[in-house]
Every structure is written in structure tokens, then in C-alpha cells.
Symmetry: C2
Subunit: 330 residues, 2 copies
């Protein structure tokens, strides 16, 4: 069934009935279906909000990702931005969709089901947006609104000389998944499934970010959406510092190593440093916090904040030049 | 100069330096340039938020509208959604931009200058967003965040049997401007300039909406973004009522009448009832408020709320069928 058989308002009604009302949200005063939505934040909390736009053939290919996974990922990418702000509670999502005329109702249902699935994990409610015709491919704009206490917010600025640099999880898996898609491999078992899932269904690190914030030791934080190298450069720039990374310490998954064993031109070092879309956290903390942080699962120290205002890489003590630098839109 | 000569991060820096910091905003805690922005709302106020997405060749043609006007309009359209909520103070904007590779820096500057111009009139601050490559044309997603007291919010629901129906300003001018563009007329004097301006630079009715809300008489409100007929149907549906419109009362501008005199196939009745993008307010109030409302400039009573759950039109007392119904995306 094509969207044209429902019509614009039929589609809006369908979205509202299926995805607009199921979850209770105590602060919500006016929900989906008016000119805007209205909600009350918790007393003493700040509003925290972010917007990301995903465009077909720039961010995704419809033949490489299912609508469920695409919806899931569009939401995950934005949730990761909230995670990067510290201890932040996601609340509401506004979804702007541009859809080609030949889009099926089933495609839209699955897109929303994916968004709603991950939204449900994090207590997020879809409260509105806009659905319009796009002559040239799918466009997804997600705006998330959350709340946080001011003392629980972390920015990219704040890294201090001598701070240790940490990352969560493993890096490069999403780039490994993209590599497989580019080779025409869209499904498989074992490491293939693992890397494709990491690329298609990233897990935003909200609970880990909250726990890290609670230590009161973290001095700066960002997510790794555009790759480790870009994240480090942004922290360095915002904090007025530099960074030294010991490449051998950068955590790489077993799946990515298996990929590198099978495909000789797949370079795990390149993927883990310049590959984007892992949506892990990159953060800094003073050396005095090292012991406390080392007891937390899923984080790895990979380097040190320096004075130099540039990001330097060393492999087993030898300087190494990193030439590429993550995806650039222009 | 093309965007590629600045690069993605150069562009982001340029936008931040030019448009991210000039205006003070007392509640703003973290502004443009981090993973999200953070702000404190006024005590006792609700968050009010809306998102609209504008896509090239669906909502606009780049050869029909200048980048300044396009930026201005993208913001105006969203401000109108906040106006339709009652007495609402716009605060922050998140801008998601999809831009083709051959976009010039000058184009983006003018787009932001237009957004910032109208934003400035209403105390709005651009605090973030996302700028990405779009292979197939310009995409603009605007999310506005404002605040309002709960008792100052109006929805589409609330119209009561017997209420009078009002509109602000004149209707059909934007459709008249679009008609001229479709005829290849992109500039001119007198009525042409007037209609093209109404199409390209709509004025959101925020202050009038605030004054109407302050009367405490308005029972429902919506803007006329998709045309009067669609607005009435949405109020009727949300309120569980119907409407009777006396077509001869619908306010039509002198410019639109002049257009109809020159072009025999330009029908002011059709433009004013089914034409969209005027961004006027459509609202209802009980008959007891009629005297008070009649003293306010710029509003016109055009009909009455009925029991019938459908929207009926009369021209000088004779029923008239309205066959078309505003722009439909699908």
C-alpha cells in the first residue's frame, strides 16, 4: 500500500494512533497532533536538546539498511548526542520525515517501529514532527529533548593538561560493517553479523555516561560519531589543549580482527581511529581518577592530554602519522 | 566560494561565529558547538516545541526564492506554529541543513541571515543543529523551542457549538504569489510585489496570538499553513464539531482582487479558502466575546461552529461546494 492511498492526513493519523499515544509521559501537557507539543520539565532541570538530519545516499542507502534499522539508528545517533552531555534523561522526540511518493505505508510503519523500539528502552516519547513529500529520497530529521541537572552536564571543553583520555566499548566496528556493505556483504554469521549490527543498530551509551558523570571526575566528554580522531580534535580545540594517543591501547573487537584476517585491505587501525559511527564516548579525567575508573567495566585509557594543541599518535612508542580524518560532509 | 573550500568543520565554525553568539540569551547554559545545547526555562513555564521540514521542489524552488527569503520563511513557518499555541515566547532554534555539494558559502550565509533576521524580531536564538551533504537538493529542518504558561496554551480542540469563527489578516495572498511565480512572474510593483512578499516572507502572528489569548475568550486556535479549509477541518475534527463559513465574509486583500482583475483564471475565492501558506490564525470564541473581539484590529468573523462534524460553505446564503482542499503531500 502506497502512502498516496492513505493521504497526508491519513498517514499523520496512522502515526499518531500507532506511535503517538501508547507510552505515558507524566510531564506531557499537549502531545502529538497539534501545531506544537507542550511539556513540563522536572523542577530545577535544564532543557537539553539536539538535532541530527539523515539523508539518503549521504548517510544511508535504502538497499543496505532495513526501515526498522534505519529508524532505530536515526534515534540512536541523537540519543548518543544526549549521552555525550553527561547524565541526561531523554524525554521527547520530534520526527521530520521527507518521503518519496512511492514509499509504502509498511516502510513508514517499520521506520517508526524502529524509532519507537529504541525510544522505549530510554523512556523517550515521540510527540510530533512533520511528514512531507521528498522528490529525491528519504530524509529523516530527529530532534530530541531531554532534561538534566546543570551540575550533571559535561561539554567538550574542560580537558586539562595531564588528564587521561578514555573511550567506551570498542572502536572501528561500525566502519568494519560499512566495509562489508561496500563489498556487497549485507548479511552473515559470526563476526559479519556482529560488525553489520554495530553499523546498523548502534547502542547509545546513556547509562554509562550517567555513571561516568556520577564519579564527578570527568572533565570533558563527546561521542565518537565522526570517528576517534575527529572527537579528539574537537575536545582539543574546545579545551585549548592537545592529545597523545597510544594506538596499541585503542580497544578493537575480536570481530574487527577477524575481518582484518579475512580481508587484507581492511585495516583495523584505520577503522578504529578514523572510522565513524561507533557512537562510543570519548572523555577525559585527571590521573587521580584512574584507579576509580579502572574498576568500571567497558572503558579503556588510550592516551593523555598534552599542551600542544594537536593530536599525536604513537604505536608502541613510535610516532605515527594519521592521514585520513573521518567522514567529511563538504 | 564553494562549501568544499571551507570544509564541514570550517562551515560549522563560520556559522557559529557569525550566527551563534551575537544575541544574549539569559537562560542559555550551553550554546552552539557541543553535542547538544542546554538552557533553563523560566520558572513555572512549559516547554513548547515544533518541527517543520522544507524540501526543495516540494516546498520551494531555488530559482523562485532567494536564500535570504528562504531562511526567513523556514523560520516564519515554525514561528507560526508557536503562535497557533497561544501566548508563547520563542526562545531557541535548532537548524538541520542538507546542502548539495555545489552550494556556495554565500548561499548559506544568506540563508542564515534570513533566519537570523526574523529570529531577531522575536527574540529567538539559533543554538545548534546539523549541516550535512544532500545529493539531491536543499533540505531545511527547523526545530523551535519556546516557553509558555500552561493557562496561556490553546489547542485545536475546544471549539464549542455556537462559537464564532475568526481569521486574522487576509487570506489567499500567498496562493496569489505562488500563482504569479507559476506564471513566470518573479518580481514587480504594486499588487505583484505585495503578493510575492506575502508568499516569500510570511509574518507569523505571535503578538496578535498573545493578545487574543489574553482575552481568555478564545476556545481553539490553529494557523492557516495548509489553507483555511484544512485548518477548519482540523479544528472540527479535534473539537468534535462542524463549521459553517460565509464565504463573502472571508477577508481578501486589495492586491488579490487586483490579481483577479488581471488574470481571469486566478480565483480569489479558491485562493482564500484552499490556498495555503498565509500563516494567519484561525480561531473560535463564544458569541459573548464578539463585541470585545470586534474592537481588535486585524481580525474578521467568517462563520459559526455547528454540530455537523463537516465544514459547509455558503456564498450570500447559498450553499457552495468547495472541491479542492489545499496542498496534500501524498
Amino acid at each position: 500500500m502506497l502512502l498516496s492511498s492513505l493521504g497526508e492526513f491519513g498517514l499523520i493519523d496512522r502515526i499518531r494512533n500507532r506511535f503517538g499515544g501508547r507510552r505515558r509521559a507524566k510531564g506531557l501537557v499537549i502531545g502529538m497532533g497539534d501545531d506544537a507539543f507542550a511539556a513540563r520539565l522536572s523542577v530545577g532541570h535544564l532543557l537539553v536538546s539536539t538535532n541530527d538530519i539523515l539523508i539518503e545516499n549521504t548517510h544511508f542507502r535504502r538497499d543496505w539498511i532495513s526501515p526498522f534499522d534505519l529508524g532505530y539508528k536515526a534515534m540512536a545517533v541523537n540519543l548518543s548526542d544526549l549521552a555525550a552531555m553527561g547524565k541526561c534523561k531523554p524525554l521527547y522526540a520530534l520526527i521530520g520525515l521527507g518521503l518519496p511518493e512511492d514509499t509504502t505505508v509498511d516502510y513508514v510503519d517499520k521506520l517508526y517501529t524502529g524509532m519507537n523500539k529504541i525510544g522505549g528502552y530510554f523512556g523517550l516519547k515521540i510527540v510530533g514532527g512533520d511528514t512531507v513529500l521528498s522528490t529525491k529520497g528519504v530524509v529523516i530529521s530527529v530532534t530530541l529533548i531531554g532534561e538534566a541537572m546543570q551540575e550533571h552536564l559535561l561539554t567538550r571543553a574542560g580537558a586539562q593538561l595531564g588528564d587521561k583520555i578514555y573511550v567506551t566499548g570498542t572502536l572501528g566496528d561500525s566502519a568494519g560493517g560499512l566495509y562489508l556493505l561496500q563489498k556487497g556483504i549485507r548479511q552473515g554469521r559470526g563476526y559479519i553479523d556482529c560488525l553489520l549490527s554495530r553499523h546498523r543498530l548502534p547502542e547509545p551509551r546513556l547509562s554509562l555516561a550517567a555513571r561516568l558523570t556520577a564519579t564527578r571526575q570527568v572533565t570533558s566528554m563527546i561521542d565518537s560519531s565522526d570517528g576517534l580522531n575527529v572527537s579528539l580534535r574537537l575536545i582539543a580545540e574546545a579545551s585549548g589543549v592537545g592529545a597523545r594517543i597510544d594506538i596499541e591501547k585503542v580497544p578493537v573487537s575480536r570481530a574487527l580482527r577477524q575481518l582484518a584476517n579475512k580481508f587484507k585491505d581492511a585495516d583495523p587501525l584505520d577503522f578504529s581511529i578514523t572510522g565513524g559511527e561507533d557512537y562510543e564516548l570519548v572523555f577525559t579525567a585527571p590521573p587521580s581518577a584512574a584507579k576509580k575508573l579502572s574498576r568500571m567495566a567497558g572503558i579503556t585509557a588510550i592516551g593523555t592530554i598534552t599542551a600542544g594543541r594537536h593530536v599525536d599518535y604513537y604505536l608502541n612508542g613510535t610516532p605515527k602519522k594519521i592521514t585520513t580524518g573521518g567522514y567529511r560532509h563538504f
